[in-house]
């Protein structure tokens, strides 16, 4: 019995391998397992090689895992193209297509001896059972269900649902293909027991969704009534979701002519008094920068989601990277502080997006949400949202006493001034990107400029105390620390758990507020530390460097930083942690 199972599958476009992964995660989630499904494709628009990685667990999981427990290979060329995305190790059970003609002793995996290598005539079984090669993926499902004790009934239910409309013959063929896989597994038992245990009884319902849908749903929940954007991978699904749903809640979506117009319209909508959002990926963030600066100076609330992908420039649009941090934090001219938040999982995308709206409204500022390709597009089992867990914040409106005459940018103790909007009688003012005095009138006076800069910066002060935007766990007196963020945080959390299980004392810090840097929170975390490792998916270690700009770091402060599309696994972070403990 195992409580965690990582399955990787690869084939060519028509093999239905991703569809098999989706069937499995649906079935597993129905049975109450926790699960994450990531998909990876070649760069072709349709066809080409495709793969998926499915992690099933009896306990909550926060990352897609490292070395595969099970590798399903429909052909070796396609499998090998995914290289380090589908790593095989000594514990892996490799199941491959007989038709590849390779003998088990000669499989093309250099330097690894998997736990078992099983050559299975999947194509032949599909042809025999269903008469069509297309049923191959259901043979695979049968094999996996049989060998690893996965949800037979739920998988079968899924197959029935999927093929219900395709006619009796097609449905029967696919059922038979599944049964053939099950039967094969039964007659060819694995030497080792790798059956997945039963999930911990959890009466709470689960939803299978991805980070982009979660983010869009959160925007609606937060009261977003306008979205302006432009299609871009891997963020487009946010606009797609809202273009379907937002009208029902009295809002609207503008698919703009370009990225700049998308954010510009969102800034306009915010000026007009409603909550608004834009979403993009790296190249779009670069284009939107000037208008983000406008929102900062005009003190208009705005949420800008950046679903990071590999960069710079076009980079690798379908791969994860966390290298937009510098851009999110620094890419505005002038002295601006713009809050930057990052969710750590699909489930977390909801709360962080709601938080982004709250911070934008409270502090009258643009807020950037740094999601990433993995969170945005992986499927994950999440708990249904509990609306009572969230408080929604609305911008401070002027009272009738504060209107006519109205002083839009009045200097206040908090730096926050009540904001009116067109249509509000007596609240008329001039908003502008140009520096202005309290009334909004343009100025080039140095003293006024300094005071306004001070106002715009000091209003963010309460953010520095937001400990709830950090995960801090582990041994309080540990001398070893781990820091990570975004989707990679899930890897560090698991590594820290594994290290502590080995008796290594370690502390973990996961900032969901990336900027402004909360100096006190970092100082408290660093206080007992002798060694600290930052784990992140960027080549130069952007978070590692950003922290050092504001905080005094421990004597030994290092980084595990990798360019996008190079997996970071719990095992290797654990090994780094062991090294820190040994030295």
């Amino acid at each position: 019995m195992v409580d965690d199972l990582i399955i990787g599958m690869a084939g060519s476009g028509g093999d239905g391998i991703v569809s098999a992964g989706e069937s499995l995660i649906n079935a597993a989630a129905k049975e109450g397992y926790y699960a994450i499904l990531t998909k990876s494709f070649g760069s072709q628009i349709r066809g080409g090689e495709s793969s998926c990685r499915l992690r099933l667990s009896t306990q909550p999981v926060l990352n897609p895992g490292g070395v595969l427990d099970v590798a399903v290979v429909l052909n070796w060329e396609d499998f090998l193209r995914f290289g380090c995305e589908l790593p095989v190790g000594p514990e892996t059970i490799v199941i491959y297509e007989d038709k590849t003609g390779v003998e088990p002793a000669l499989i093309p995996l250099k330097g690894v001896r998997p736990a078992a290598v099983l050559k299975v005539p999947m194509e032949a079984m599909a042809l025999k059972a269903a008469g069509v090669l297309l049923a191959k993926n259901n043979v695979v499902l049968g094999l996996l269900a049989g060998w690893f004790g996965l949800a037979h009934q739920s998988i079968l239910g899924g197959i029935r649902k999927k093929f219900a409309k395709k006619g009796e013959a097609v449905l029967k063929g696919n059922e038979q293909a599944f049964a053939a896989g099950l039967d094969y597994a039964e007659h060819n038992p694995l030497g080792v027991d790798r059956r997945l245990g039963t999930p911990s009884p959890d009466s709470r319902r689960k939803i299978l969704t991805d980070g982009n849908d979660m983010c869009a749903a959160a925007a609606l929940f937060a009261g977003c009534k306008f979205f302006g954007g432009y299609p871009i991978t891997p963020a487009s699904e946010i606009m797609q979701y809202l273009s379907r749903e937002i009208w029902k809640h009295g809002g609207s979506v503008l698919q703009a002519e370009d990225e700049i117009a998308g954010i510009a319209a969102a800034v306009g909508a915010s000026f007009a008094g409603i909550k608004s959002m834009t979403a993009t990926s790296g190249p779009g963030l670069s284009l939107k920068t000037e208008v983000l600066g406008l929102a900062s100076v005009a003190e208009l609330p705005l949420v800008c989601v950046d679903v990071q992908r590999g960069g710079p420039s076009t980079g690798m649009p379908t791969k994860r990277e966390q290298a937009d941090l510098f851009a999110a934090v620094f890419s505005a001219h002038g002295d601006t502080v713009r809050p930057v938040l990052a969710p750590i999982s699909v489930e977390d995308s909801f709360g962080i997006t709601v938080e982004a709206f709250n911070i934008a409204e409270q502090f009258q500022t643009p807020v950037i949400v740094l999601s990433d390709q993995e969170i945005a597009q992986r499927k994950e089992t999440v708990h249904p949202v509990d609306p009572s867990a969230f408080k929604l914040v609305e911008r401070l409106r002027p009272s009738s006493k504060e209107l006519d005459p109205y002083v839009r940018f009045r200097f206040t103790e908090s730096g926050i001034s009540p904001i009116s909007h067109p249509g509000m009688k007596g609240g008329n003012y001039l908003a502008a990107g140009i520096e202005h005095n309290e009334l909004g009138a343009p100025t080039a006076n140095g003293e006024m400029h300094a005071r306004m800069n001070d106002k715009r910066l000091k209003k963010m002060a309460p953010l520095h105390q937001r400990r709830d935007l950090f995960i801090i766990e582990g041994d309080a007196d540990a001398e070893i620390g781990l820091i990570s963020w975004g989707s990679v945080a899930g890897v560090a959390i698991e590594a820290a758990k594994l290290a502590r299980a080995e008796g290594i004392k370690v502390k973990l810090l996961i900032p969901k507020l990336l900027y402004p840097i909360a100096e006190d929170i970092f100082a408290d975390f660093f206080k007992p530390l002798k060694k600290c490792l930052v784990v992140e998916q960027s080549h130069q270690g952007q978070l590692y460097r950003l922290i050092r700009m504001w905080a005094a770091v421990p004597p030994s402060y290092s980084v595990l930083a990798k360019s996008g599309s190079n997996p970071i696994t719990p095992e290797e972070v654990l090994e780094k942690t062991r090294e820190m403990a040994r030295a």
């Binding site: 306008f226 749903e245 029902k248 510009a264 306009g268 007009a272 999440v382 249509g423």
Partner: protein
Amino acid sequence: MSNECPLSPEVFTAKDYRSSLKPIWCPGCGDYGVVTAIYRALAAINRPPHEIAFISGIGCSSRIPGYTTAYGFNTVHGRALPIAQGIKMANPDLLVLVAGGDGDGFSIGGGHVAHAIRRNPSLTYIVMDNQIYGLTKGQLSPTSPRGLKTSSTQYGSMEDPVNPLLYVLAYGASFVAQGAPGDMDGLAKLIEQAIRFPGFSFVNIQSPCITYGDPETQLKTQKARIRKLEAEGHDPSNRLRAMELAQEYGTTLYTGVFYQNPNPPPTYESLIRARQQALQGADSPLEDLLEKSAENGGNGELVAG
């Protein structure tokens, strides 16, 4: 919709739309005439200033919202139109005016004009066209004539100018006019007509730059050069004839309505309202946002109950 111009019980005069800010424009600038014409047009329409949103980009002329008592937004260079569309979509009841120079509208922001026209929101786009960059001190603008020597084209421009009138006509704008502060009554009337038009309306205004502009085209000679389209017997419902006349941009100073679509397409905000109303019944409780998604073709799916 702004074009319906609901009557306010209060009566506003031109000076109710004038703010206390003193314009930064040079004495003799055409833009003084433009802002005066806007005060008059707004008074004729009589919407209270707080129901007006006046959006601009960057340039001398883009300072104009600050000289009115409306809600103003002096934004960034070239992006006034998309910002204004966001405002109109957020609150269709507002009267939305957009203004800027020829550089703002047809150079850095040129890509947005076509798309505003395609959507047809009820907003009025006023371009103060002076064929030069004034704020940055005399560089070539997109409407500068070929051969013009400027501070950035010391040996003369090697490009043809943009023809703003033909540009918007070609993209299908339903209301296209040109005015000049040399004919103040005509300009105020034209702006009023544009605001009352249900949909996207465009007014190009020949507003000479006294400091860097062509000495031959200044205000004092403008009146004599004006040829009123109405007096020429032009039928504004004739789009092809409008395009023919528009080809004389840069040589003949026509003022008046070049084109007014007798059957304009629906306004963007009317379509938005209709869609919101049609779908409002399908409203789903917020806690079902993700569950619903699956049924509606999204990625979310409720899998365990």
